[in-house]
Structures are given as structure tokens and as C-alpha cells.
Symmetry: C2
Subunit: 409 residues, 2 copies
Amino acid sequence: MKGMGPIPAVFSPDGSHQLSIGGRLAEELVAEAGGTPLFVYDNNIVGLQIARFRAAMPDGVDLHYAVKANPYPPLLAFIARYVDGFDVASAGELDRLDEAGVGDVPLSFAGPGKSDAELFRAIELGATINLESESEAGRALRLAGELGIRPKLAVRVNPPFAIRGAGMKMGGAASQFGLDHDRAADLVRELVAAGADWRGLHIYAGSQVLDLDALVEAQRATVALAAEIAEAAGAEPPKINLGGGFGIPYFAGDTELDVEALGRALNEILCNAPQVLALTCFSIELGRWMVGEAGVYLTRVIERKESRGKTFLVTDGGLHHMLAASGNFGQLLRRNYPVAVAGRFGAAAEEDVTVTGCLCTPLDLIADDVALPRADAGDLIAVFCAGAYGLSASPQAFLSQTAAREVLV
Amino acid sequence: MKGMGPIPAVFSPDGSHQLSIGGRLAEELVAEAGGTPLFVYDNNIVGLQIARFRAAMPDGVDLHYAVKANPYPPLLAFIARYVDGFDVASAGELDRLDEAGVGDVPLSFAGPGKSDAELFRAIELGATINLESESEAGRALRLAGELGIRPKLAVRVNPPFAIRGAGMKMGGAASQFGLDHDRAADLVRELVAAGADWRGLHIYAGSQVLDLDALVEAQRATVALAAEIAEAAGAEPPKINLGGGFGIPYFAGDTELDVEALGRALNEILCNAPQVLALTCFSIELGRWMVGEAGVYLTRVIERKESRGKTFLVTDGGLHHMLAASGNFGQLLRRNYPVAVAGRFGAAAEEDVTVTGCLCTPLDLIADDVALPRADAGDLIAVFCAGAYGLSASPQAFLSQTAAREVLV
């Protein structure tokens, strides 16, 4: 038997042994949606995370949602009520926001390969562009000139450090993201001289961090670096995007990030920030932490089969919807996401089984050799932590399989 | 500098230093298609591979195309003229064949999680169902009874061996695919007793194999296993699907599979096959080998940038179209696919660069630290070996980026 990640505590089993999401039985949700595979996102869990962030963080720290984590329009419409900004990474994400009908939330736009058309549209919308190079700055200024708009431009900085233990490191090395930190001040001066509305700096050092100390250390270094660049540029940044990086537990042994302690540490950092940042507004950009645990992927067992002494549950879902759970998205070592049998939720484990998807590839693993209550063909399997980088980050057309449904409850 | 895989020999540079695909300049193809990113598939290369297969293999060995490798309908329509069957893995692939208008090619259907609806449709179409378990056999017989059709049923066998050095091993272990070999004969007898049209066996031991000896050894073992099962079942199999497994060179040091030698070896194996297989027709199921080298992914450089002494070419494409090239699809170690600057094709390398996609993730690498002629913003980068498991096997909705175009030339 192999371990699996912890089921988020908000899904606590009761005596019924039936999984509920947002107060609704999993089977009911599937029936209403018209079938499996189904992603269910619980807006209450998203709301709880946002409330927890607000309570934990120093007053005045803005919360941005990184649309890339989950661009499902009804979810965006919910989130729009509670955040201070949306961070987008493509024109397509602007389309998702349009679909969601949330035009009035401040926008910022980052990405190493923005096209002219994307820059044009973002400037026209009044979004803050996080510039990733001097040449992109030149393009943005030229396009803003054509539009007759004073563009909102921030500088994305490639910091000389990464976050220890980050699931994904960004910084501390040569990179396609942002400007090397020692070139940022020059660009800031040029933007100011060109008459742009310089909005500040964006410094992103890593993601999926569960280690409090590592994140505090990165935030401290980020604030110091921002101050250094501002001093060198001779300009006070209106805003510093501190990045995000808040992780969630996915795997056996993972424990949740202590966000309250992080907030206290950040408060101390900001209270002691250098004078050049005295009027600066800080923001944190979160995606995964806000929505990851709010999502459950429901898939139905089609076949229960035995092979060479092992039991397999073959489901109607798979890596075409949950690539990360299969271990094929940035992981060096495959580990199991938390899963459960929805109709025996919280019941004692009875057997070791391997849960697979329906694709014709051995990569299509949902849970490898995990202890679960008995499940048969027709039973629902729930995969937790499916709210971020799930459906939109998976090869949905692979093997031309059934599309997944999505619902917000 | 790191290495990259060999550019397929069929793309040989001439003095013009312009990449042509199917006799058309890459830039012309992009202009006609309306922009980048663009997948170009060259039907001549597919045709050459098919001709090579026919010339190399023993007479009477059928060639099947595995639709999962690339389900682009115009490509299916082309392939339909030259193959003996299509192997599908989902109802969605039947839809792609419908779109391609190729209803008259024999079909077989494999997959560990076929739904009742899929079985129903496949039986109605007269497809051969490769049964993956006893319980699936029961479902297929029941549905065929409801339809009043005598179903064509084959048995997929999980062999007790895998192919040495296969990019993906299937066999030799507990698996969701097929029946363990020691249970296959019993199921064959039951199918015959139930009055089904038993079509034979399907034995698939691995894919992406470049090692001739390993493949010969697997084919020899497959034929022996098929004979053993047929003897035990007391039934002569009309057809044996030997699987596929023919690999193509993707990475530095890879060399092409010697298909001619493989054909000679297979001829010897079949000439000496046990008596129980005397009337059996054999087939080989290929996807990657038939279409992989026929595809080129064209993406345009948006930014050329320097960071800490390294040069990056940031393109408008990325892992949302070519997940496998980014190293995130089943590879333990990331290696570079063959790439080129389309407008300086065959020119001498001038610098070491890293080619990335446009996504906001460090996973989005197209080629890491490769030697190329100089390229600037606006230049086209060609990624070769993009014809199989490319677009359909990638997370196309990730970051809501621009959709890729496809064209067959």
C-alpha cells in the first residue's frame, strides 16, 4: 500500500458515509449535471480561504486571483466579489472574465510572450501590464501611443533568489520571466521618463510552498529587493506584487501552510519596510491556495478487475481531466492525491486498489495502490484538491474521450 | 549546450536555408493558415512510411492505424485509403472518423474503461471489440443480444512480458489492460460457446521501441503466447493483433528502427508459427511511427531576451500544444526534440539559446540550451516529430492561450 494526500478537513465524514460537497450529495450533483466525469467547485470553501487570508494578512494587503489556476466563469464571477484584482496571463483569460461578466475588477497582465494584440487589448482595458523585458516595454509604449492612452506599466523582476522547497521555483536563475533584477531600475526610469503610469514591481519567486519559514524568507527578500530597485530608480512604487506561492497539501506527509503565522511575519516585514516603500500598496497573487481544495473531481467506476493479484478500479475519468493527479505535470516522482469512494466516505479501508482512468496508456493513473473501502462498477470515486490546475491544465482532447462537466455549488 | 534529437531526414535543407514542408515554404503555410501556432502534417511522409511498412513486412500482415496518435480528420481521410483497419479507443474517435467520412474501413475498439454506450455503438457499427476483462465480455454479449447482432469479439491479453527498452511498457505486470494471459483461453471458450464471432487476440507489449532485437523478441513471444492460448482454448484465431511499438527517434543519440530487418524477422517467425495459427491473419497497429515524423509544429518568436548570460527565445506556442516536447508526458528526464529556425534551415549554428513557450510556467520549455542559427522576434521556430501525440495529447486550454491551427499538405 502507498500513502495518499490528506483529504481537506472541510470534507469531514459523518455517519451516513456519503460524500457531500457544498451540502449536496455527490450522487445528486452528478445526476443534476447529467453524468460523470464532473468537477464540483464549492464556493463556500473558496470564501473561507478568502476570509482566512483577510483575517491573517496585514490590513491593506491586496488579494489578487490568478485566473490561470481555474478560469471557470461562474467561479470567476463568485471570486470577483471578494478580491482586489485579477491577474491574467492571456487574452483568452480576458475572454473568460468577459463570459463571467466581471468587467469592473482591476486587472494585471503577466506572461513572457504577450503578443501585440494582447498588449493592445490589455492597455485599452486599463490593465496593468507586468513588463517582462525592455523590448516588451518598447512595444507597450508604442501601442499605448497608437491608442492615445497613458499605459499602466509595472516591471516584473526576475529575483536573484528562489523559494526554498517551492513546488516550482521562479527566480535565482536565468529565466524567460521578468527582467533580471539588476536591470529593473533602468527600465523603471525609462518608463517614468516616457510618461507612462508606472505601477510598481511584480516579483514572483515560486509556487506551491508549504514551508512557512521559506515563504517568510522570500517575502523579506522580495521587499528588500523592491526597495533596492526603487531607490536605484529614484521612484516610489505605487504597488508591489509580492507573488504568491501559498501551497496546499496534496501528498502524504504534506501539512498545511500556517497562513496566520505568515501574516504576522509579513506584518513585521511591512512595518519595517524601507522608507521608499512607505506609500506602497502590497498585493499577493493566489490561485491554487484559493481554489485548489474547493474542487472535487467525481468519476465513476466502469470496471473492477483483478490482474496478477492486484485489484484495479477503471473509471470513466483520467489524466485527460486531472493530468497533475496522474503525476505527469512537473512532478519528478509520482505520488497519490487524496481520493475516496464517495458512497463509503469515511468508512474503514478494506482493500488495496489501484484507481485508473479509461485511457489506453499506463500513464493514466489516478491513485496507485491505495487503501479504500470496497468499490464496484457504478461507484463514484472522488479525487480531492482538484480545484486548481485541474481541467484547464489537462489534455482534454486526448483519445477523444468524454468531456468533463463542471459545476459551482 | 545540450543536444537535440535528429531532424527527420526527409526534411533536408537546400541552399535556400528555408524550411519547406510538403514542398511549401513554412512561412507560406503559416500565411495561408492565418497564423501561428500551426501544426503542418505532410501526407507524403505518411504515405512513405506506409509504403515502407508494406515493402518490409511479410505479405498479408495487415496495417492498422491507431487513431489516438493523431485524430485530425483530414489526416484520417488520407490514411483510410491505405490501411486495413482503424483502431479506436473511444466513441469520440468514432466521431472523428465520421467527420473524416471514412465509414468503410474495418474498426477495432480497445480501452480498459469502455462504457455501455460505447460498446453499444461499436457493436452496432460492426467493430471488433478488444475485450479487456470477463465482465466487459459479459456486458458486450448482453448489449449485442439487445441489438440482435452477433458481436465481433477479440480478447486483449496482458502478456507476461514487456518489451525491453520500450518508451512505455505494457505487459509483464499487473495491469488495467487486457486479461492476464492465463485467463484468456477460458474467456475465448466462453465467447465461442456464447455464439459470438470470436475474432482472435490482441497482445500489446509496449510502445516507442527503437531496438530491433527487443521488438523481434517481443513479436516472437507474442506469436508463441497467441498459439499457447489458442491451443488451450481449442480454437483457431482468425486474427492476431501483434500490437505496434515501432518507435521514432526523438532525442540525441536515438537511431531509427530497422523496419526492414524487423520485417525479415517477422517473416521467419510467421513461417515457423505453430499449426494452430496456420489460418490466422496478423496485424500490426501503428500510430506514432506512421504519422510522428510527418508533423511539424511552427511557432513564432515573440521576444528574444537575455537573462543572466543566457538567451531566450519566447514563442507564441508552448506545452499547451506540445506537452511531450516540454518533457512533461511520461518522461523521467527532459530531453530536447529536434528544432530549427525555419528561415535559416540548415544554416550553421551561431549561438546557444533556450526556446520557451508563452505560458507563465517554467515547465513551458520547447528546447533547452540548444545550438541554433540566430533568431529574432518574428522568426519561425519549427519543432519536428510533432505529428503524433502532439496537439490532442496537450492541455490546449491551459492559460486560455491561442488555439493551434492544423493543416494537412
